[in-house]
Amino acid sequence: MKKDYNYKILALKIAAPVIAMILAALISSLIILAIDKNPLQVFYTMFKFSFSRLDSIAIIFFNATPLIFSALAVSIGFKMGLFNIGIEGQYLIGTFLAALVGFSLKGLPAIIHLPLVIAAGMVGGMLWSFIPIFLKVKRGVHEVISTIMLNYVAYSLIHYLIADVFRDKHQSLIEGLGSVLVRTPKLAESALIPKMHGFFALFGVELPKHVYLNWFFPIGILLAIGIYYLVLYTPFGYELRAVGHNPEASKIAGIKPDIVYLKGFLLSGAVAGLVGLSDLLGYFKYMDMDFPQGYGFDGIAVALIAQNNPFGIIASAMLFGFLKRGSEGIQALLKVPMDTIVILQSLMIIFIVVITKIINDYVKRLEKKEAA
């Protein structure tokens, strides 16, 4: 009896996101109908466009890459019961430091330069995650508010650094006309991350030239696996979870919650520092004023849908990558505005959290019945 009731729980936990997606899809269908398009055709096109083409699939991977990092960073916070809503600021700072190391150091061999750049990114993230956790541990400042504030400080700071301090003055104008970007200088070749074309070629898969899928994707996967083992099988991960669920009991057991918070948040920040690097080192090759924002918030969503399971995170990051690619497809082919997909995403998040909560409560009741 006990056994199959455990399967029941497992089934329920998996059911949650599925139900949520279906509900979200249903409501979005209504929205699509509202602009007299055919939902079935829209969804069909999304899938066909995304999965019937090699480049689409690769692009989905590429889209997923930053989300994997940011969701992992979020999930580390969640594990210890903290809400790192500051990924946004942390990756901006991280990306900028990486860019700085990328364009200011010249003539290094890639084997040295690239690692340096990546390290710089992580340092930047840690730097920006240290402030809120320090304030929390020392002064009891709630991390949600402080990280939100620090996100805005980061935006302004970065804009200042890019526009007024490190702006690339050597962009040429043609006949003094047209315009130039407000951006940092281009990064040195040695700082860039290689694409994965060569790797796939080994298996006879020739990725189109315009695909920017790079080695940060596998790095993200490895990191997910690493974090999975870290959290479940190392003493530190054990402490993360113990403190996350019950700081007082952990303390009485001899664990110092503050230390755990500090280490955990710095780790989260370090991972957050990698979020922007796939775009920076694999696509833009410079940081400009309009460097993609919002990965931090998407990461929260991805982590939630995955219920903080690293492998779930890879999957749901793919889901978001697919939604993005799909939205490009339906926009180009069916002229359906991408906003329908934005709505779909947010609805999905809301349904997920609600349904998961309901199911978890139900499971608890189940277990209590078991006990009584």
């Binding site: 929205i31 509202a34 602009i35 809400f83 809503i85 304030l135 002064r139 400042v141 709630h142 949600v144 508010i145 402080s146 939100i148 504030m149 620090l150 805005y152 400080v153 302004s156 700071l157 804009h159 200042y160 526009a163 007024d164 918030f297 929260i300 969503a301 939630l304 505005p337 906003d339 329908t340 997909i341 934005v342 709505i343 995403q345 947010s346 609805l347 998040i349 809301i350 959290v353 609600v354 909560k357 309901i358």
Partner: protein, 304 residues
């Protein structure tokens, strides 16, 4: 530097922050954190343009309030009824508000990023104040919404401090279990707090659209919802405090607009002021912040 004109500008900048921040006071005092205020401002700014464009300013305000309230209702259902993480719900609502507004704008106005021109209320002069020399500039032909916002401060202070509703609102924010044992409907009070915040945020959005620019422009809230939360904290969860904080932040923004080419500090740094100040407050450098005891915690009786 401190000209009446600068103050007038500060006031205009402060109003949307103030309205939303007062709302934040209600929801937080009831024990519900509402990160979704930014989103509620966004839908407010959009629906105001719809209402005002087709039926005039009053309907504009009405639509804005309803839109904000609707989003707030979702927030209440998820956080109060189902007890899901309040921050998560807020974040999701912000994304929803962004997408939905763009989409509806496309459907209604045929373009995702702007509405058509709309006209707001007739500007008015505040009777006595507008005759006082220095204050003249502050209080002649200003939007009725500005005055409403200012009046809302003492009113809210009175409601929260002196009315039955206010007492019970604070009670569920401080100790829901105790309130429950006294037969106070914790859920109802929290719903009320959140929905009030949604309405006020909606009005704030309407102010931007109808009174300030006469048009809805995507992203015109520019994160003011978050600044409002900061103002509420900086004001120590009190309407009066919120007023001072909002004015201070409005002043900072007005100042940053005047820090053009020549200024010593780059304006990006002036833009940071509200956030840095808030951190300072939370850190206790400026003054000790005292959030409601049960703020952010879901309540259900069995765990009491």
């Amino acid at each position: 530097m401190l000209t009446a004109e600068l103050l007038a500008s500060s006031l205009r900048m402060a109003v949307p922050i103030l309205l939303t921040a007062i709302g934040a006071v209600y929801t937080e005092r009831a024990g519900v954190v509402n990160i979704g205020l930014e989103g509620m401002m966004i839908v407010g700014s959009f629906w105001a343009s719809v209402g005002a464009y087709f039926y005039g300013p009053f309907v504009g305000i009405l639509f804005a309030m309803l839109a904000g309230a609707f989003l707030a209702l979702i927030h209440s259902v998820t956080t109060v009824t189902f007890g899901v993480n309040q921050v998560v719900s807020g974040v999701a609502l912000n994304i929803l508000a962004y997408g939905a507004s763009r989409f509806l704008s496309l459907v209604i106005f045929g373009k995702a990023t702007t509405s058509h021109h709309v006209s707001g209320f007739k500007p008015i002069d505040v009777p006595i104040l507008s005759d006082i020399p220095f204050l003249k500039l502050l209080f002649t032909d200003i939007s009725p919404i500005v005055i409403t916002a200012l009046i809302l401060v003492p009113i809210s202070k009175y409601i929260i401090d002196n009315t039955v509703f206010g007492l019970r609102l604070r009670a569920v924010g401080e100790n829901p279990l105790a309130a429950d044992t006294l037969g106070i409907n914790v859920f109802a009070m929290r719903y009320a707090g959140v929905i009030i915040s949604g309405m006020l945020a909606g009005i704030a959005g309407a102010y931007l659209t109808m009174e300030h620019t006469g048009m809805y422009v995507e992203g015109m809230t520019q994160g003011k919802g978050y600044i409002a939360m900061a103002a509420m904290i900086f004001g120590n969860w009190t309407p009066t405090g919120t007023l001072w904080a909002s004015l201070l932040f409005g002043f900072a923004e007005a100042l940053s607009l005047r820090a053009g080419e020549g200024s010593i500090i780059p304006y990006q740094f002036i833009k940071m002021i509200p956030y840095l100040l808030t951190l300072a407050v939370l850190t206790g450098i400026v003054k000790k912040a005292t959030p409601p005891a049960a703020s952010g915690e879901a309540y259900n009786r069995s765990n009491g």
